[in-house]
């Protein structure tokens, strides 16, 4: 009897001791709310906890749009989580600029093997003034034009390679009562992709960069921006989009329903759309193929250059974190070999070098991205938030034919002059 009491006592004491050790708790916030997405992160956290007894990780997944407000309020109130997810670019820089994010450069220098395993292009959205503030982990997603092979075959169409060929495709489809492009532009970012691609095809990758960074005489009134607006409106006037595109809500899936029902033949969208289609309508996926955004007559851009992001989402450590060492270790688990395999199984392309992929469609996206001489991050993510919002507003207005390309460019330039120094 005495012996049992003693054993129980020791057990209790031991538990107490380990409790005292488990003082460190790290908070991790992310937006992977699908079953698989949640599981991949939780599995990585479990591996980390197993290897680091005494450190507990509290994981909080949040829906995409709610997350943006939640994160901002948490930082404003001084109760930010240790590890948080972001999309890199302008919004993350807002946090970096306010001295809220840990500079990961020294940690990465110490862990060169970890750093070199990841694709070089994946670091650029989290690199500011040559310092790195986050690690890429989730996926490579670039905008491509998805199209319905069956519809194209029925009307004898081929994937257009130039703007003029595209306009011809639009004309043929229109004659047959099919809208060329499906677009759900209530949230404004889907339509902004057309504008960004046009700027890239017309002026090449440097026009936007130098305007956004205020370098080398860059300006948002550069002819490339105005020409992009003109071509966009030309496409609208040619009847290139489904009815009601500026009021449709992407999140409710209408743009895909328009594809499924055959009312629209194409959609310019991030490659994640293929995953959505696979989940919603696997039969339809067999009819889908994709091609690159066409070239523009006289344009300087490389037809292989892409718009999108390599590595998104990104994970960073907040300045308020009491144990950044442990938090960095946690970051490495989020994209260890196991996590990479699980993501590939979930139809994603984690940003690691020499990634082995067997799914044919995924493989094609991989080749497509690997050929790209440059990757332009989504404008609304690259620009500072205020300017990003204005860009979305003006591109929606351009698509709605309610402003002129000159006015859109001038509005952007005025605000850029005011807030970018």
């Amino acid at each position: 009897m005495k012996k049992t009491i003693l054993t129980v006592l020791t057990a209790v004491l031991a538990a107490g001791a380990s409790l005292a050790q488990a003082q460190t708790t790290l908070d991790l916030w992310h937006i992977q709310t699908t079953e698989n997405g949640k599981k991949i992160i939780q599995d990585a956290v479990n591996r980390f906890q197993q290897a680091n007894p005494g450190i507990k990780v509290r994981v909080t997944p949040t829906q995409n749009d709610a997350y943006k407000s939640k994160l901002k309020i948490a930082f404003g109130a001084g109760s930010a989580p240790c590890v948080f997810m972001s999309w890199g670019g302008g919004p993350l820089y807002e946090y970096v600029r306010s001295n809220q994010v840990v500079d990961l450069t020294p940690y990465l220098d110490k862990n060169a093997a970890f750093k070199n395993r990841l694709l070089p292009a994946s670091w650029s959205p989290v690199t500011f003034n040559k310092r790195i503030y986050g690690i890429p982990a989730e996926n490579t997603a670039v905008a491509v034009i998805l199209y319905n092979k069956e519809l194209f075959a029925r009307y004898g169409l081929k994937p257009p390679r130039t703007w003029d060929e595209l306009l011809k495709v639009v004309g043929t489809l229109k004659k047959n009562n099919v809208a060329a492009f499906s677009l759900a532009n209530k949230a404004k970012w889907p339509g902004s992709m057309f504008y960004a691609y046009l700027v890239d095809r017309i002026g090449g990758p440097t026009v936007f960069k130098s305007a956004a960074l205020r370098e080398k005489g860059g300006s948002f009134t550069d002819p490339a921006f105005i020409r992009a607006g003109e071509l966009l409106q030309e496409l609208v006037k040619a009847g290139g989009f489904v009815q009601g595109y500026n009021g449709l809500d992407y999140d409710s899936g209408v743009s895909r329903q328009l594809l499924y029902s055959g009312r629209a033949a194409m959609e310019l969208m991030g490659t994640w759309e293929l995953g959505n289609i696979k989940n919603e309508n696997p039969e339809f996926l067999k009819k889908v193929d994709f091609f690159a955004f066409p070239t523009v007559p006289g344009g300087k851009g490389n037809p292989n250059a892409v718009l999108g992001t390599v590595g998104d989402n990104f994970y960073s450590i907040s300045r308020g974190c009491k144990n950044p060492e442990a938090a960095f270790k946690l970051l490495t688990y989020l994209i260890d070999e196991q996590a990479v395999q699980e993501r590939v199984a979930d139809n994603r392309l984690p940003p690691v070098k020499n990634l082995k992929v067997s799914d044919p469609l995924l493989k094609r996206i991989q080749t497509f991205v690997s050929k790209a001489p440059s990757v332009q991050l989504w404008y609304d993510q690259e620009l500072p938030p205020q300017l990003g919002e204005l860009h979305k507003d003006t591109s929606q207005a351009l698509l709605g034919l309610s402003i002129t390309p000159q006015s859109a460019a001038a509005q952007m330039e005025n605000l850029a002059k005011k807030i970018l120094k």
Binding site: K72, N99, Q243, L248, S252, V254, P385, Q386, D393, Q396
Partner: protein, 309 residues
Amino acid sequence: MSTITSAKTAPIPLEKRRQWSQAWVAAAFLLPALLLLGVFLVYPLLTSFRLSLLNWNGLGNTAQYVGLHNWAELLHDSTFLTAIKNNGLLALLSIAIQIPAGLVLAFLLNKAGRGSTFLKVLYFLPLLMSSVAIGTVFRSVYDPNFGPINSLLRAMHLDVLAQDWLGNPSLALPSVIAVVCWQNIPFYMLLFLAGLASMPAELREAALLDGASKRVIFWRITLPFLQGTIRTALVLSLIGSLRYFDLIYVMTGGGPSGASEVMATYMYRTVFASFNIGYGAAISTAMFIIVAVAAGLALRTTRRFETEV
């Protein structure tokens, strides 16, 4: 024991003592309410005004004091002016549609008597649903490609009337206002039903005895009897329309191209999407001032027209 002696030494009149204790009791009862008002109304209001004097992205110690700069900018901000205009239109149409419709429904239901319980519940339903759910449902109702409205119009060969309800800048706001009215009419109906229920039957009976027609009874007795309720409805509708947010945010997000932007959606975008806390605070403080002034004016003018029943 001691109270008795003190009462003896200071002979205060009973009346005065009662008044004092009443004042204390009143203060004690008011204190919690005042505290709540202070913590949840006055303090946030002052904080919001203080924030409106800053240029701040809401993160860390990066705020700069800019004085009234945000306010000066607000006066020239065309988006804000559009938002005020839209709020005004929303208020005008809300009052012009919701209150008469609520009144008519209440009057008819009141006349129908007991048998109307089912209709009452039916008409009351929109008020029970969350605005977000209503917004989502009506987004699909309005959908130009798959929505029932356009399908119906096309089925009736009225293709010209099939519109892009939420994507067309000149239709977006009216389309949203129609849903706002549909959602809020039941509230005014309920308010007027309660008003009608409190009307003494003798009033009507006396008028009938005097030979008044039904029409005269409605215009001369029922309506004047309800004028207090109508006034309440008017002010509530005005305040509600000026700070409207949820349905518009869900259905159009203020777009397309700002066509359905109201003050609250603009404030939300400025604070949460543009990281511009100072300017957003200026918008919200200006909104408070506009709502307070409008409500005050509405109360004053309607009081002037009030007649004795």
